[in-house]
Symmetry: C2
Subunit: 342 residues, 2 copies
DNA sequence: ATGAAAGCGCTAACAG
DNA sequence: CTGTTAGCGCTTTCAT
C-alpha cells in the first residue's frame, strides 16, 4: 500500500482556491456546497478559480468534518438478473446526480446475507442502506436497524418493511394475466412456478381474476432454481397434471422461454398458450413472442432513490411503502390456439 | 441532508478503546492495522476492548490522515452480462478480503465513457481505477493516466493497455473451435458474428485452425446489437451466403441460442451444427445443448484483483499483461449431423 | 514496543 | 454575505 495520493501532485486544497479567488476558505466551501449562501459574483470568482486549479473536494476531509457521508450502501443478489440490474441503474442515476456514491455489495442471496457483510461497509459510515429485495431474517433486521440510518427495501411489497419500501404488486400482475386468460377464452389455465413469496402473490391475483370468469387454475409448483430446463420440466408437469391444459402462466420469463423452446419441437405442446412474468429483453424476440407482465426495475430504482434523497434531505416521509405499476404485454404466445387435434 | 452520524450514538473512537485497554490511541491504531508492531499480549487487550465497545474505524479520518484510500473505482458496461458480472464478483471477492471497497459505476459502454464519469469518483480519491473492458479513446486514456493511480483493464488482450491488463486470448478460443470443427469433419464451416475487435480475433484463430485441415470458413458479419433475433438473422444469412453450410461458429452464445431456437422449427436448418462463445448458463440447458468456448470471468476478476493488490502493496509488476485460458465445451450441438436430405 | 504531539483538509459554530 | 477559529478521528513522525 505504497500509494499516497498526497505524495503525487500535492493536492489542491480549498485554501489554494481561496487564495486564487481572493476569498476565505469557508467561502469556497460554501460556494461549492450551498451556492445560495454566497453572492453570485463571489461564487463566479470561486468557480473560475476551482476550474483553473482543477480543485476537487476531498471527501475524506469533508465527511470527517461534517459528519455527513455521501456513500450509500446497496446490497444486491444476482446483479446479472436484468431486473435487479435495472433497479441498480435507476437508483444510481438518481442518487449520483445529487452527489451520492452508490457502493454495491453483491451477495448470494438476501436471505443468507450475513451481519458481517453489512458491517463490512461500516467504516464508510454509509448514509443509508439499500436492499434490492427484502430482508427477512429477524437477526439481520436488528443489525440493520442498529445502524440507525435510513433503510430502503425493494421489489416485493411486504407489509412490514424495516423502514421504506418500493416494490411491485405481484398480485396485481397476476390479476392482469388472469383477466387476459379469461378474455382469450382459455378453459384450462395452469399456473407454473413458485407458490411461495411473490410467487404466491402472483398466483393469488391470477386465481382471483380467473374466478371472475368461473375458472380455477391448476397450480404446478416449481421449487428448483429458475432455468430453461426447469421451464421444460414444468411444462411437462403441467400437461401431466392437467391434460386438457390450454394455457400456462409461468411465474417468470425464463421458465416460460424454456418451456417455449421445448414446446416448439412438439406439436402436441405447441398448441398450448404460454405466458411469463417480467418481460426480459429476450421475451419479445422469441420465434413466438411471449406474452408477459412488464415490470420496470428502473422505475423502482428511481423512485426508491428519490424517496431516499428526500429522506436524506431531512424530509419526513409519510408514505413509506410505494407500489409501482406493472403492465401486461400481450404478444403472440397467448393468441388463441386450435384445439388439441391440430 | 440532516443525518449526521456523529449525532446518533456518539461514535466510539480509538481514544475510547485506548482508555478501555489502558494503552495510548496510537497503540490501538497499530494493533488494528499493523498487528506485528504490537506485543501479542497488548494486542489481545486492545482487541477485547474493540469487541466490548463495538469500535469500527472511521475511514474518513483514517484515509484523510494517512493519504491512503481503500476505495477502488470500477467502470462496467452491461453488468447484466453474466461474464461481466462474474468479473466483478471475482475482483470484489479478492479485494474486499483485503479491506478494499469496490465502487462500481455502471456505464453504457466503455467506448462512450465520459471524462466526467471518471471525475465523479475523484472526491473519493480511488486507490485504483478498474475497467471491465478496455479503454480506447485517446482523450479518455489521457484523463485516466492523469489520475496517476494504478489502472487495470480487462477482458480483451490488447497490446497497449494503459497500465495493467488481464484478459482472454480470443484468438486461441477461435482456434480451439476451428480444431473441433475440423475434427468433426465439417466441410463448409461458417463464422457468424462481429468481424471487428475481439470478434476479429476469434475469427482469425478459427480460420487459422481450419486452414490446417484445408478448410476456409465463410464469414457472415453481424453488426446489429446481440440478440436472439440477430442470431436468427445470422443463421439465415449464413445459409444464404453458403448454402452447403454444415456448421456455424457464432461469436457469442446469445446469437447461437437465438439461431438454435429458430433452427429447431425447421428441419432444413436443424441439420446444421451450431456453436457459440462464452458458455453462458443457458447454453447447457438447451433442447440441443450448445458447444461453446468457456471463459471464466470470475478467474479474470480474481487475477486482476490479485495483481492490483500486489501493485497497491508497492510491488513492481513485471508482467503487466496476463492471458487467461479458455476451454472448449463440446456438447450435442456439434455432433455430426446427417447430410441435408435428412 | 509504546507514546506525545501534530496535522491531514475540510466545514460547524459563532461572529461581524 | 463573509470571515475566524477550532476540531472532526485518525495516523505520521519523532522520541523514548
Amino acid at each position: 500500500m505504497i500509494f499516497h495520493y498526497k505524495d503525487r501532485r500535492r493536492s489542491v486544497r480549498v485554501e489554494d482556491v481561496a487564495y486564487e479567488a481572493g476569498v476565505s476558505p469557508i467561502t469556497v466551501s460554501r460556494a461549492l456546497s450551498s451556492p445560495d449562501l454566497v453572492k453570485p459574483e463571489t461564487r463566479e470568482r470561486v468557480m473560475r478559480a476551482v476550474e483553473r486549479l482543477g480543485y476537487v473536494v476531498n471527501t475524506y476531509a469533508s465527511s470527517l468534518r461534517s459528519g455527513r457521508s455521501t456513500i450509500v450502501s446497496m446490497f444486491v443478489s444476482g446483479i446479472a438478473n436484468p431486473h435487479t440490474n435495472a433497479v441498480m441503474r435507476g437508483c444510481a442515476e438518481v442518487m449520483e446526480a445529487r452527489g451520492f456514491h452508490l457502493m454495491v455489495t453483491q451477495v448470494d442471496s438476501l436471505d443468507t446475507l450475513k451481519a458481517e457483510q453489512v458491517n463490512a461497509v461500516q467504516p464508510l459510515r454509509p448514509a443509508a442502506l439499500v436492499f434490492v429485495g427484502t430482508v427477512n431474517s429477524p437477526e439481520l433486521r436488528e443489525v440493520i436497524v442498529e445502524r440507525d440510518v435510513p433503510v430502503m427495501e425493494m421489489w416485493d411489497l411486504i407489509d412490514d418493511p424495516i423502514d421504506m419500501l418500493v416494490g411491485f404488486c405481484h398480485r396485481d400482475g397476476g390479476r392482469q394475466m388472469g383477466r387476459h386468460f379469461a378474455e382469450q377464452g382459455f378453459r384450462h389455465p395452469v399456473y407454473a412456478g413458485r407458490t411461495t413469496g411473490r410467487g404466491a402473490d402472483r398466483l393469488e391475483g391470477f386465481t382471483e381474476a380467473l374466478a371472475g370468469a368461473g375458472l380455477k387454475p391448476v397450480a404446478v409448483p416449481v421449487t428448483e432454481p429458475v432455468s430453461f430446463a426447469a421451464g421444460h420440466q414444468a411444462l411437462l408437469a403441467a400437461v401431466a397434471k392437467e391434460p386438457k391444459c390450454d394455457a400456462i402462466f409461468f411465474s417468470n420469463d425464463i421458465l416460460a422461454i424454456g418451456a417455449s423452446m421445448y414446446a416448439a419441437t412438439d406439436p402436441a405442446l405447441a398448441r398450448i398458450a404460454l405466458a411469463g412474468f417480467g418481460d426480459i429483453v429476450f421475451s419479445g424476440q422469441l420465434p413466438v413472442p411471449l406474452t408477459t407482465v412488464r415490470t420496470s426495475g428502473r422505475d423502482v430504482g428511481r423512485r426508491a432513490g428519490e424517496m431516499l434523497l428526500r429522506r436524506l434531505g431531512g424530509e419526513a416521509i409519510a408514505e413509506r411503502i410505494v407500489a409501482c405499476e406493472s403492465l401486461l404485454q400481450v404478444r403472440a404466445s397467448t393468441a388463441l390456439r386450435l384445439p388439441a387435434k391440430s
